[in-house]
């Protein structure tokens, strides 16, 4: 399999804190990869480097033949990196359909003067975009909610709308930041199956941050464990599960969590 994303020696420092520490990481095309680790292990920071929000302090990131470290997020979207967020960040006062149309912004061609003159090419493109958007919404299970303002959607559908919006950007690589957070076991099961469908039906490569071990172990081709910004283990789910370092770092933190709760 070809490598779609490859990070080499990536570090990110905030003042004295090293959030990601000389990380080597690669994603094969058409795989589902997961990154796990205790809170503050640097998972989201790594996502933010891959999607262009942070410029890495050191290291290189290659995506699909491009050197992307430090490029702006909107440019990376054009290269084919789509994402969702740990806390949902939809455009609340825009309808579900409009949210998806924003995802298409960068590949729709209509320039402002054509919008102003309502040229036929623009009208045709808009109609096509709306049709495509409705298709995407139906695909993620939001048929009939096209005109609902996204802030009024129930939580589970908001998560799905975020995925539809990311799909609208036509990604090759889709980064999902805790897609099952806050879901009940049934919803989680649906979401897990849905993620697999995204890969199988749409040929996407998927990179997950996930806390739900069951989800991670069922769908991942490769699991990577981060702790204090470093990679402490990597491999097939079954291998990682038996890695003592992981059990130490991970179960330790989970036990801590249980006490907290």
């Amino acid at each position: 399999m070809a490598t779609l994303l490859e990070a080499k020696g990536v570090s990110k420092k905030f003042g004295g804190l090293t959030a990601v520490d000389t990380l080597d990481y690669s994603v094969e095309a058409n795989a589902i990869n997961s990154i796990i680790g205790p809170n503050g292990a640097g998972k989201t920071t790594f996502f933010n480097i891959v999607t262009g929000y942070y410029k890495p302090t050191t290291g290189t990131v290659q995506f699909d033949g491009h050197d992307i470290a430090g490029l702006a997020p909107h440019r990376l979207t054009r290269y084919g990196i789509g994402r969702t967020f740990q806390t949902i960040r939809l455009f609340g006062h825009l309808s579900a359909l409009e949210n998806v149309l924003i995802g298409m912004h960068h590949w729709l061609r209509s320039p402002w003067w054509s919008d102003l003159l309502k040229l036929r090419s623009t009208l045709r493109e808009e109609a096509e975009a709306i049709r495509h958007g409705e298709e995407l919404l139906a695909y993620v299970g939001l048929k009939g909610f096209e005109d609902v303002e996204s802030r009024n959607l129930p939580y589970g559908l908001q998560r799905r709308l975020e995925i539809a919006r990311a799909l609208a950007t036509r990604p090759k690589l889709l980064l999902l930041d805790e897609p099952t957070a806050g879901m009940n076991p049934n919803e989680t099961k649906d979401m897990t199956a849905f993620i697999r469908r995204l890969r199988d039906e749409r040929g996407l490569t998927i990179l997950l941050i996930e806390h739900d071990m069951h989800v991670v172990m069922t769908i991942s081709d490769k699991v990577t464990v981060l702790d204090y910004g470093r990679k402490i283990s990597e491999g097939k789910p079954s291998d990682v599960q038996q890695d003592t370092r992981v059990i130490e770092a991970y179960l330790g933190s989970r036990a801590l969590k249980m006490i907290k709760n």
């Binding site: 939809l90 006062h93 825009l94 924003i102 995802g103 919008d115 102003l116 299970g141 129930p154």
Partner: protein, 377 residues
């Protein structure tokens, strides 16, 4: 109110247009009658209100659509008006025709919009507000002091005592639209269609201005660029991750906001026939912001209706009717108390504005949590 709106929606589009056209055409004669009865100057106030509506629609692109707080919007109004002044003031001998000059004003204002926007649009929202405010505060003193420009490089005098803006005295007279071609075709005597200071003529010219600005706003609203503006208003960071080049999109919002203002400024200058630095103070920026916020930021129809109502409230009720009812009290000096309270109250209790719901498409605004619970793909 909502019954009225739904009835209005139910009539066919051609009938809507006929009704609107009839209203627009019959406003001047009706107002003339009222003016004769009451002695108030109403039509000039309507014209002013319509100019303010055009300006507010421009500001609505920046504040309402894109969510960028511009506290110095009057600067672009001033730039439009003064560009028109420079192009048509007889002493400078450029003598542009009105119909060409206004488009130059649009371009110059848009250029300034991008010039101030390019370095500042990366700033956080509140800093941007202050930068625009400072820019707005620089323009009037700048204009006031550009009446005696001398530029020297060493001993070489490039410009000496050049009077660009006529400083505090203001520029006067300024160019007016000339309908010579129409007159010769229609067989009228030259000058018969000269608008002069006749408010009815100006009314129709300004109605055209409003129509231009209104239809541009409407077309932008639901287009690719308009959606991108609304997306960055909702969540700029998320918009960036979805592939929107936010700096470019914000720059366009600034440019269009400025160009609307430049156009309105040019027409305003021509209508008054004279411009002074004091016409473009901070109060104008705040008054326009009040129109946009009170009417409903982001709602084109809301700003249209609200702009007309608020400007009329200010120019007719507060400035003319109230003083005639209470001749001994100084009601007008309280106008900013009213507007200040109005602004605070709307922000606290009705952030969507008084007329923000007008013209909104039929959207399910009720939460649908129950209906959709457990629904899966």
């Amino acid at each position: 109110m909502s019954a009225l709106i739904s009835r209005w929606r139910s009539i066919p589009r051609w009938a809507q247009l006929v009704i609107l056209a009839a209203v627009v055409i019959f406003v001047p004669p009706v107002i003339n009658i009222v003016e004769r009865q009451t002695g108030f100057g109403l039509l000039t106030q309507v014209n002013r209100a319509l100019i303010y509506v055009s300006l507010a629609l421009g500001l609505n692109i920046v504040v309402g659509f894109a969510g960028l707080l511009d506290l110095g919007y009057a600067a672009f109004f001033a730039i439009g008006a003064y560009t028109f002044g420079i192009l048509t003031w007889p002493s400078l001998r450029l003598d542009f025709s009105f119909f060409i000059a206004i488009w130059v004003c649009v371009l110059v204002a848009a250029l300034f919009g991008m010039l101030i926007g390019a370095p500042t649009l990366r700033l956080r929202g509140d800093y941007l507000a202050i930068v625009t405010l400072a820019f707005g505060e620089i323009i009037p003193p700048l204009v006031r002091n550009l009446d005696n420009i001398t530029i020297r490089i060493g001993d070489l005098v490039l410009v000496e005592s050049f009077n660009l803006t006529n400083g505090p005295l203001g520029m006067k007279p300024l160019g007016r639209p000339n309908f010579g071609i129409v007159e010769s075709i229609a067989g009228l005597s030259p000058g018969q269609l000269d608008p002069g200071v006749n408010p009815t003529f100006w009314y129709f010219i300004i109605v055209i201005l409003v129509l231009v600005v209104l239809s541009a706003s409407r077309r932008f609203e639901d287009s690719r660029i308009g959606r991108a503006w609304r997306a960055i208003r909702e969540d700029e960071t998320a918009a960036r991750f979805m592939g929107v080049n936010t700096v470019r999109v914000k720059l366009l919002a600034f440019a269009f906001g400025a160009s609307f203002s430049g156009l309105a400024g040019a027409v305003f200058a021509s209508m008054l026939g004279a411009i002074f630095p004091e016409l473009f103070r901070f109060q104008v920026s705040v008054f326009l912001l009040i129109i946009v916020i009170l009417s409903g930021a982001g709602s084109v129809w809301g700003v249209l209706i609200g702009g007309l109502l608020i400007s009329t409230f200010d120019g007719v009720l507060l400035a003319q009717i109230m003083p005639s009812i209470f001749p001994n009290s100084d009601v007008q000096s309280l106008r900013w108390v009213f507007f200040g309270i109005g602004l605070i109250a709307v922000m606290l209790f009705r952030p969507q504005g008084l007329f923000g719901h007008l013209g909104q498409r039929q959207r399910a605004s009720q939460p649908v949590k129950e209906a959709a619970h457990g629904d899966a793909a």
